[in-house]
Symmetry: C2
Subunit: 617 residues, 2 copies
């Protein structure tokens, strides 16, 4: 059984943990199982239709001479095809699908025909534009496209065993290696992505030149080769960075590549920079949803504590990049704080990017909205839809890792897993209603002495642990509890994470959240959506000393809904006043009950205002 | 006794009230008496020295050929001399000062020598720039300078009976009238001011042509003659305005001129526009201090509800213009809501513009500050210092008005007044500690049947009224109570305005004030200043359900200080966190007592942070 899915650190010297393949983990039921199923059944097929309709596959046919006409769309549209292939490949790891496999082969054939003899492959730089190849690395995304091709080739190979796309990718990678590198041409990519792809190609092929090339592209940053600006994260050498800046997706993809490079080389100056960036991001620039990038302008990070809600950019791709980066940091460190961010962004700012029916997408994910923002079926710049498809399709691979001494559980969802460990297959079944309930039961199906490491999420202040209904006491070390035992088939390990709704406040330096609270329950961030509430949700002021109650409701595919109390002041009082005595306002409060829903489910029903950060009385 | 000071509406058909001269009202003690005294004794003499040092008077000597050299400073620097003359003239109305009167004559002689034979007078447009006269009305402020000259000439004439400056002003006004008007040259002023000056010159001379010219300049707006932009309030005809926009001082000066024009002509389309602008200003764009103008950029009004605190512009001149405009609206209407705004801006955003020692000035008046903003001795663009000097020097004139049936009291401060009414002089003495206490005693020194109208401020929710210690019941009509009686010398009328400190909240559309409260007591807006508090004032979160206590303290010249309770959360908790459960934060609160001082007195001691809108728990 192939352990690898997106990254394969089984031979990586500085990876403390190793991934467990998608194919080893079968989601049985629950929120994530449903999301994966919808992506497989709805999203992947509809996206293929859209790739055809929007000429994205025709761009390859045009490049190979099969059809005539102009290149269509943005110059980086090839990547949407590659990301869709990656999504489909991950999906095949979960569940075989001969029709899909055949379709992939057909698409790959179109790609193959579009490749130049020298290995170059970018359907935009064909015919008249051939002469412009590699002339504008800052803006033209050729290396970014190459990165996605390489990742798709690797995923397809790992899913199917076939080399047809992988060989195309290698041929392009070899071409890139022939052009760039020490003693060859200088340069790096205006849009990072190729770095992590090249490290993975090294892992896949064990050909060291790809790792060297990844390192080269990272080393080249900060020399002004791609503009020298914050936007391209080219203002400083990577190892000197101490503030997360620039285009959010580029910045976080670059961090993925640098983390991969650290995992292979152990170069501490990389890890030190990554740690500085992580702290800066998580402690100064990340939305409560895990969203990244405050600004529409440049799709970029803002200043520290600049986290506007209604104008939050928080691109879906940036949430995905955040998840991908923290996963790499987790493998490098075994520290639960990275799993905490993975969980946070997954259940909030990432899943919000796709509709519950799997057919529509948010590009930006505001934390407050007047009701005008709605998910779209597609975008001219369609980076987010296939990106979220590939991420969700790969989710079974993110639940577990292994180390020499046992099995690590990072995320909780119902599943049956058969995990390669120490030359054996260990089978366990997880039953839980997580994230709606904190009780997680592990049914052990394989005898043996191994440690099970369980992540205790940072939102959890009280938990208990039972083996066969006997409570055991444990300590949390780096975010995990360690359960060491000679396991017998039939053992039941129960983890109970006490999950209660609570009000969250923001660092007062975040001026947009002053006087406001958010509501969270477990990993889920809640929001008020107009359709659930009989008053204008933007007028609500919550009583933070009143009780919040939770109940599972059959709306929105089945979610825990939270109710609480607040007050509404007749807005007429404010029609002709800027200022009023607080006691006059308090005298006019009308108590109301409000209903909050998980943020990621908003905008799946009738349009209306939405708010995550709610004013408090 | 001449009733007039800044404006004389004794013959104005649409003035419901008529001003009472500065010379009729003698401030005896208290806050305003002290401010007027400091302006007379300190501000006016020091400003004269600065006018000399900064070449502002030399610009006149240069224009007349007395001295050689370049024109120095901004092209509108003449106005600082004119405003100082107005301040000195108002001061002479309060208290004769032969030396000052002689100094005024000397300065006026320099001005006279600088005037062209044709009446033109602007020391910037002399020698080489003579050819540029009247070529750029949008930017070059010639009519603005003329307006201040006219106002100074009128004030000086009313104060001293002398015509030396008034004749210069008339000569320039006649020159302007020869250039502009129907059938003559088109145009209006990029910086309004001349309109109200011309109306007053009409009142002073009864020469109708000045009123016509004022009307012409107002009628010319909105035709694109001065750029057609919001900034110059030239985007629409004045009578069509419905939102207060553009440069705050220009906008409010224009409103003064238009109100003056209404008072003379009764044209309702003017009043309707003024009412729309007033409501828009007071209900959407005015700071709690009465300050006007949210933006540094263009010294301008922002959007509705755009009222940032730390970056508030709230120019001192705009506060003065606000006061001036509301006084005119009050005369036109008899409605206390205009007096409420006069009182509010006077005690807060206006008096904040000058230091307690009368020597330093704020140009901008932020509502929150890190401690970097300090008052300055002077500015290159020094519009504010002589403007606040003339306003404070004229304060005794704003306390009362008269109508055919009696005497109106708009502002409360200790004074002895001898008021011309119905051909008689009515004397009364007011004793009060207002604004520090709400008890106001009127000692009636003149027999007679007349009504005393007393403004009940909009901040006051409970008041009582006594005649010779007998409580009487009254109704408030348009903001005033009416006390009608056959008065006997020795009668004592007591008004007790219950004055308690209270928390004020802001319309939630003002996003900068969400989650914050201000503290007010009577007309006074309070602030936290670092020097009074042993914790970082920006970290304070107040308990709005705890009691606020007041006490008169001998600091800052004697002010009522307010104390209350709040909490501080150890800021270390926020060093490494963006978000935290509210209950964790609440568990770490440390209760503290805070001290708040009147906003207008801030920055008179050691520098430090200041905040008007304080976070609440």
């Amino acid at each position: 059984m192939n352990r690898a899915f997106v990254i394969d650190t089984s031979n990586s010297p500085y990876s403390k943990l190793h991934p467990v393949s998608i194919s080893s983990v079968k989601f049985t039921d629950g929120l994530l199982a449903e999301r994966v199923k919808v992506v497989r059944e709805v999203t992947i097929p509809t996206q293929y239709e859209l790739l055809e309709q929007t000429q994205r596959i025709n761009n390859f046919r045009r490049a190979s001479g099969k059809i005539q006409g102009d290149y269509f769309g943005f110059f980086f549209n090839d990547t949407d095809v590659y990301k869709w292939i990656e999504a489909a490949s991950f999906s095949l790891m979960s569940e075989r699908d001969e029709k899909l496999e055949k379709l992939l082969d057909d698409v790959i054939e179109e790609i193959k025909l579009a490749q130049d003899e020298d290995g170059y492959l970018d359907t935009y730089f064909t015919f008249d534009r051939r002469k412009d190849r590699w002339t504008n690395l800052k803006d033209m995304h050729e290396l970014y496209c190459a990165g996605h091709l390489i990742q798709a080739g690797i995923a397809h190979h790992r899913a199917t065993g076939k080399r047809n796309l992988l060989d195309i990718a290698i041929k392009f990678a070899d071409h890139i290696d022939s052009v760039f590198g020490p003693g060859k041409r200088e340069g790096t990519s205006g849009h990072p992505e190729v770095e992590m792809a090249l490290v993975e190609l090294y892992r896949e092929t064990r050909n060291y030149k790809y790792l060297s090339l990844a390192k080269f592209f990272i080393d080249e940053r900060g020399k002004g080769l791609v503009g020298g600006e914050l936007y391209h994260i080219d203002h400083k050498p990577f190892r000197e960075l101490d503030e997360i800046v620039g285009h959010a997706v580029r910045s976080l993809y670059l961090n993925c590549g640098a983390t991969d490079l650290f995992i292979e080389t152990g170069e501490l100056s990389l890890l030190n920079a990554l740690e500085r960036l992580w702290h800066n991001f998580v402690e100064r620039k990340m939305y409560i949803t895990g969203g990244a990038g405050s600004r529409y302008e440049g799709e970029a990070f803002g200043e520290e504590y600049e986290l506007p809600n209604e104008t939050a950019y928080a691109e879906t791709c940036a949430a995905i990049a955040n998840f991908m980066w923290n996963y790499r940091m987790l493998l490098a460190s075994c520290e639960g704080r990275f799993g905490d961010i993975m969980e946070l962004v997954l259940y909030n700012g990432l899943l919000s990017g796709i509709s519950l029916d799997g057919k529509e997408y948010f590009y930006v994910n505001p934390l407050a909205d007047s009701g005008k923002n709605r998910r779209q079926k597609w975008f001219a710049c369609a980076c987010c839809p296939p990106n979220i498809a590939r991420l969700i399709a790969s989710l079974p691979g993110y639940i577990y890792s292994t180390s020499f001494d046992g099995i690590w559980v990072h995320l909780y969802t119902s599943n049956i897993a058969r995990i390669d460990w120490d030359g054996r297959e260990i089978e366990l079944e997880v039953k839980t209603r997580y994230p709606w309930d904190g009780l997680i039961e592990f049914y052990i199906n394989t005898d043996g002495e191994y440690i099970i490491f369980l992540r205790i999420p940072n939102w959890c202040k009280r938990y208990s642990l039972f083996i066969n209904d006997q409570e055991i006491s444990t300590n949390i070390v780096n975010g995990y509890v360690k359960v060491e035992r000679l396991w017998k088939k039939g053992d039941i390990l129960k983890l109970n994470l006490i999950m209660e709704p609570e009000f969250i406040v923001s660092n007062p330096k975040v001026i947009n959240n002053i006087g406001r609270v958010a509501i969270k329950r477990g990993p889920i961030v809640y929001c008020l959506e107009q359709t659930d509430n009989p008053f204008s949700v933007c007028d609500l002021e919550v009583f933070t000393d009143s009780l919040l109650t939770s109940s599972f409701e059959p709306i929105l595919g089945g979610v825990v809904v939270i109710k609480g109390k607040g007050s509404i002041v007749d807005t007429n009082i404010w029609k002709r006043n800027l200022y009023a005595p607080l006691k006059d306002i308090n005298a006019k409060r009308k108590e109301v009950e409000f209903t909050a829903i998980p943020y990621f489910t908003w905008a799946n029903r009738e349009p209306g205002p939405m708010e995550v950060w709610i004013r408090k009385v």
